[in-house]
């Protein structure tokens, strides 16, 4: 099992969600996050006062999938999240040792 963690632009969230459902991803965790990468923050000015936005709003999507599904899921996210511009985000793949469905106690891939 692997966890696929994607940091994407907020307005691509619906596309990514739809695309993931289309490749039968059952569930996901979505978090509003802020941060910066190569797309540095920016400065906004209002009536002379500066508002520095150092951390850019992003969405983090996390899904845990069986190993063989990883390439498909990563590709799906990358395709749906892409606008071709800086700040499109990143995808990380992280090994997962165990999964437990709390209600039933099922373990491993059966719990996904």
């Amino acid at each position: 099992m692997k966890k696929v963690e994607a940091i994407i632009k907020p307005f691509r969230m619906d596309e990514v969600k739809t695309a993931l459902s289309a490749v039968a991803v059952q569930g996901m965790t979505v978090t509003e996050v802020r941060g910066f990468g190569r797309q540095k923050g920016h400065k906004e000015v209002y009536r002379g006062a500066e508002y520095v936005v150092e951390l850019v709003p992003k969405i983090k999507i996390e899904v845990v999938v069986p190993d063989q599904a990883v390439p498909r899921v990563v590709e799906t996210i990358a395709k749906a999240a892409k606008t071709g511009k800086i700040g499109d985000g990143k995808i990380f793949v992280i090994p997962v040792d165990e999964a437990v469905r709390i209600r039933t106690g099922e373990k491993g891939e059966g719990a996904l």
């Binding site: 907020p10 307005f11 619906d14 802020r34 797309q39 906004e44 209002y46 709003p57």
Partner: protein, 886 residues
């Protein structure tokens, strides 16, 4: 020790344990069936209490028999305490017992206790018990307040009733003189308890016992009344004068509801559980008979009922509690001054609470009700319970004449316009029922819940909180760096904004999108409140658009200029935008503690500022431009009718940037659309026209957009002996670039002669297909033409401006004109990795001012100062290398 085996059942004629157990089990099963059929909460708890009482009575009798004791051994008495004492047993409530026994050694006491308690445990009851002499227990209650309060609930079940009565007499004596202290303690504990449970009736997962408006509030009121008025049971509340018969009716109905829910909760979990956890609310609602096609709606309606009843319990129980406290202060009041000074005719302040000195005031003229609210608005005082009742009575008399009376309307609206304690005033109006009588539209959202994790408060409470958020902005502290305060200071009509805050969600619960419903309601209410037409328009606009703003901010690409442009147009003015932004921020902040965060803040501020900049610059925003756009679109539809299917024309028209409509007329746009249509078969489409009155030719090029396109086209034009005087480039949303060039022909052969025109077309195709490089075309141009240019040595200046636009970095090139200049400039811009979205190329005699709106390849402005410097330097160096005609 008594062994509990069946063969001992007959000993001394004692009853069989099995029989008692069966009695309890069948009683419980019977109760459960009746609960499922809708048995009232109060009746259930009473009957269950009665079953347990009878079990205990039989157990006591049995144990006496086993021990060969007299039936009622002197001095032994079984008392029910706590909830059991109050006859409030839910399916899995604790059964708390106090077993009194005489002092000194009691024969068989140990065995007796076991004979009673062990079977109870075996029957599955959760038993808590204390075994004490009357004196011991009374002493313990002096030290332990929990114990003290539970003694207030004590009830005799079985055994020696005499000892119980003695004990009770002693206990009541021990209360003497401590009532005020104890009631204060109850109140204090209540406040702490509420604090632990979110300090609101409206929480996501209400605790039906400990939460605000929970059963513990009722117990507190009961204890206070028991201490102060020595009532014996909750039913005595109306007779004690603490609640009116009508209030009692509401109160007992509310309690009944809470108990029924609690009983269901216990059954649902199979144990004592008093919290309505979010995940199970739907199931609980359904078992309580809230069913329907849409389970979510059913759950919402259950929660609405729950909150209404909990509100009743909270309100009435605290009235009882406060009245019990005031019994004391009331005495003090009479001793001190006779009449506190009036602060307005008919009103005075007493202990910080507003009281009515003229009880007939509202009766004589209900419009005096406004006076009470004006005082709260000015001074933020609380209402005294009596005045609260008077207002509630007065509210019931409100009719249409009152609602539309000029005095009413003016008084209500001015609360919003003047600075004061608006939220506090609205709360007082709401709590007394005045608000929903005066604004009937408000009644519908009273306790209206949205069943999701996000909306914590029902709509009515949320609306008041939203007003509070706006009001908070009014308390300006200059050092506070929030842009919201700054914006608030600039708006001209805060009254409308506050009204919008109160009304923004009134359309909820109607099914259709609530902003649309809400707009209709706002229009009706605005009119009834005699607001001017522009103000009603603003109000409707705010209610209608409040969802849209948030949706765009959080879900759309804020770097999409056309999106912002369209949004700016739909908003229309900076004033409206500011109010909308403030309303949306207040709305989110009022949803719940976690709904507003830096994430949402950043996106909403970005949308606000970008839209505001567009509106303040005013380009293409005016009404004339909008009318012109609509006009042109209609004309184009007409022009192209029959040539291209209508849906295709529409798709094109929508894809054209708004600015484009300001530059071209319908005929030109029509021709451009025809060119774009041709791109399905060819690489590039070309169109040309003579402009004899301007002494030049116009060339229009349509091609799929790509980086460097502009540079390639200008290169080809240069190579074909055309000097570019000006250019308009625009990129349509469909991904096509449509560029128009005004050119000066540098050779004698007319541009539109077939041979020459075809060559331009061929060159463009070859360059765009990548068959030949534009650079080689330009270099191969042998030009004897420089002579045509007057010698000049103007200095080349490059200005890079990041302030002018939220979407582009603007590069201005000031230099003297030379053939091939535009190609060189645009080629360099391309080499620097920038893409040109718009350009204004203009030439005045020999002076060129070229303005390029560029983005980096990421589609954003260039923020890196070093890179900005490099752009200026590289462009300048490169331009200075172009030969200057002598």
């Amino acid at each position: 020790m008594i062994a509990q085996t069946d063969n001992e059942n007959s000993i001394n004629g004692a009853e069989s344990l099995d029989d008692i157990g069966r009695f309890l089990k069948s009683g419980e099963a019977w109760l459960r069936r009746r609960h499922e059929k809708g048995l009232s909460g109060v009746e259930f708890c009473r009957e269950r209490t009665d079953f347990v009482d009878r079990v205990l009575q039989r157990l006591l009798k049995r144990s006496f028999a086993l021990l060969r004791e007299e039936e009622s051994a002197p001095g032994i008495s079984l008392l029910a305490m706590g909830g059991y004492g109050r006859e409030e047993l839910s399916p899995y409530s604790d059964v708390d017992l106090l077993i009194l026994h005489p002092p000194g050694k009691v024969r068989h006491l140990e065995s007796l206790l076991q004979a009673i308690l062990n079977p109870l445990w075996d029957f599955g009851l959760i038993v808590g018990h204390t075994v004490q002499t009357p004196r011991e227990s009374l002493r313990a209650a002096q030290k332990d307040l929990d114990l003290f309060f539970s003694f207030l609930d004590a009830r005799w079940i079985a055994g020696d009733k005499g000892i119980y009565l003695l004990w009770r007499g002693e206990f009541e004596k021990s209360m003497g003189g401590k009532e005020a202290e104890m009631i204060l303690e109850i109140r204090k504990r209540g406040e702490t308890r509420h604090g632990r449970h979110g300090d609101s009736v409206f929480v996501l997962e209400p605790d039906i016992k400990e939460g605000k408006g929970g059963l513990r509030d009722h117990h507190s009121a009961f204890w206070a009344a028991r201490l102060r008025r020595r009532i014996q049971a909750a039913e005595d509340l109306p007779d004690s004068g603490l609640l009116s018969p009508k209030e009692w009716q509401n109160y007992s109905r509310a309690l009944n509801f809470l108990w029924r829910v609690r009983n269901q909760l216990h059954y649902h979990y199979g144990k004592r559980e008093d919290r309505l956890s979010f995940d199970d609310q739907e199931a609980i609602a359904s078992s309580l008979g809230y069913r329907g096609e849409d389970p979510l709606l059913a759950t919402e309606s259950f929660l609405k009922d729950y909150f209404r009843q909990a509100l009743q319990v909270h309100r009435l129980s605290w009235i009882v509690l406060d009245k019990c406290l005031e019994d004391e202060t009331g005495k003090a009041k009479r001793r001190a001054t006779e009449a506190p000074p009036e602060i307005a005719p008919g009103f005075s302040l007493l202990h910080g609470r507003l009281t009515l000195t003229d009880p007939g005031l509202f009766g004589r003229n209900p419009l005096h009700l406004w006076k009470a609210f004006e005082i709260i608005h000015a001074h933020g005082v609380e209402l005294d319970p009596e005045l609260e009742e008077k207002i509630a009575e007065g509210a019931n008399q409100i009719n249409d004449r009152f609602r539309t009376a000029p005095e009413s309307v003016a008084a209500f609206v001015s609360l919003f316009e003047r600075r004061g304690k608006l939220t506090r005033t609205l709360e007082a109006m709401h709590e007394t029922g005045f608000l929903s009588r005066f604004l009937m539209e408000f009644e519908r959202v009273h306790c209206q819940v949205q069943y999701d994790r996000y909306h914590i408060y029902p709509v009515d409470v949320h609306s008041l909180y939203c007003v509070r958020e706006i009001e908070d902005l009014e308390r300006v502290s200059p050092a506070d760096g929030s842009v919201l305060r700054e914006v608030f200071r600039e708006i001209r009509d805060p009254g409308i904004l506050k009204l919008a805050a109160l009304f923004h969600d009134l359309g909820k619960g109607e099914g259709s999108p609530h902003a649309v419903e809400g707009e209709k309601i706002a229009a009706v209410v605005g009119k009834r409140l005699a607001l001017s037409v522009p103000r009603v328009d603003d109000l409707c606009f705010l209610v209608r658009e409040h969802l849209n703003f948030v949706e765009i901010a959080h879900r759309r690409d804020l770097n999409d200029e056309n999106l912002i442009f369209r949004f700016a147009r739909s908003v229309g003015t900076g004033e409206r935008l500011k109010m909308l932004y403030l309303l949306c921020a207040a709305d989110l902040r009022a949803v719940g503690p976690s709904s507003w965060n830096a994430w949402k803040d950043a996106l909403m501020r970005e949308l606000f500022l970008k839209t505001l900049h567009l509106l303040e610059k005013g380009e293409g925003m005016g009404k004339e431009i909008q009318d012109r756009t609509v006009q042109i679109q209609a004309e184009v539809m007409e022009l192209l009718r029959g040539q291209i299917p209508a849906p295709k024309i529409t798709a094109c028209l929508v894809s054209i940037p708004s600015r484009h409509y300001a530059v071209y007329d319908a005929r030109e746009i029509g021709r451009q659309i025809l060119m774009v249509e041709k791109l399905q078969e060819q690489t590039v489409a070309l169109d040309g026209e003579e402009k004899p009155e301007e002494g030049c030719e116009e060339v229009t090029v349509a091609a799929p957009d790509e980086t460097g396109l502009f540079s390639k086209i200008s290169g080809v034009l240069t190579a074909n002996h055309l000097n570019i005087l000006s250019a308009e480039i625009s990129t349509w949303e469909s991904g096509v670039a449509v560029d128009t060039f005004r050119v000066q022909n540098l050779i004698d052969e007319p541009l539109f002669d077939a041979r020459r025109w075809n060559k331009v077309q061929k060159d463009l195709e070859r360059v765009l297909r990548g068959e030949v490089s534009v650079g080689s075309l330009v270099e191969s141009m042998t030009s004897p033409l420089f002579q045509k240019f007057p010698p000049s040595r103007r200095e080349t200046r490059i200005r890079v401006d990041n302030e002018a636009s939220d979407f582009y970095t603007v590069v201005e090139v000031h230099t003297h004109d030379r053939p091939g200049l535009l190609y060189r400039v645009t080629q360099k811009i391309f080499e620097l990795g920038l893409s040109i979205a718009m350009a204004r190329i203009s030439t005045k005699v020999d002076q060129v001012v070229d303005v390029f709106y560029v983005q980096d390849l990421s589609g954003g402005k260039i923020e890196d100062p070093e890179f900005i410097e490099k752009i200026g330097k590289d462009l300048k160096e490169d331009l200075e290398k172009i030969p200057i005609p002598k």
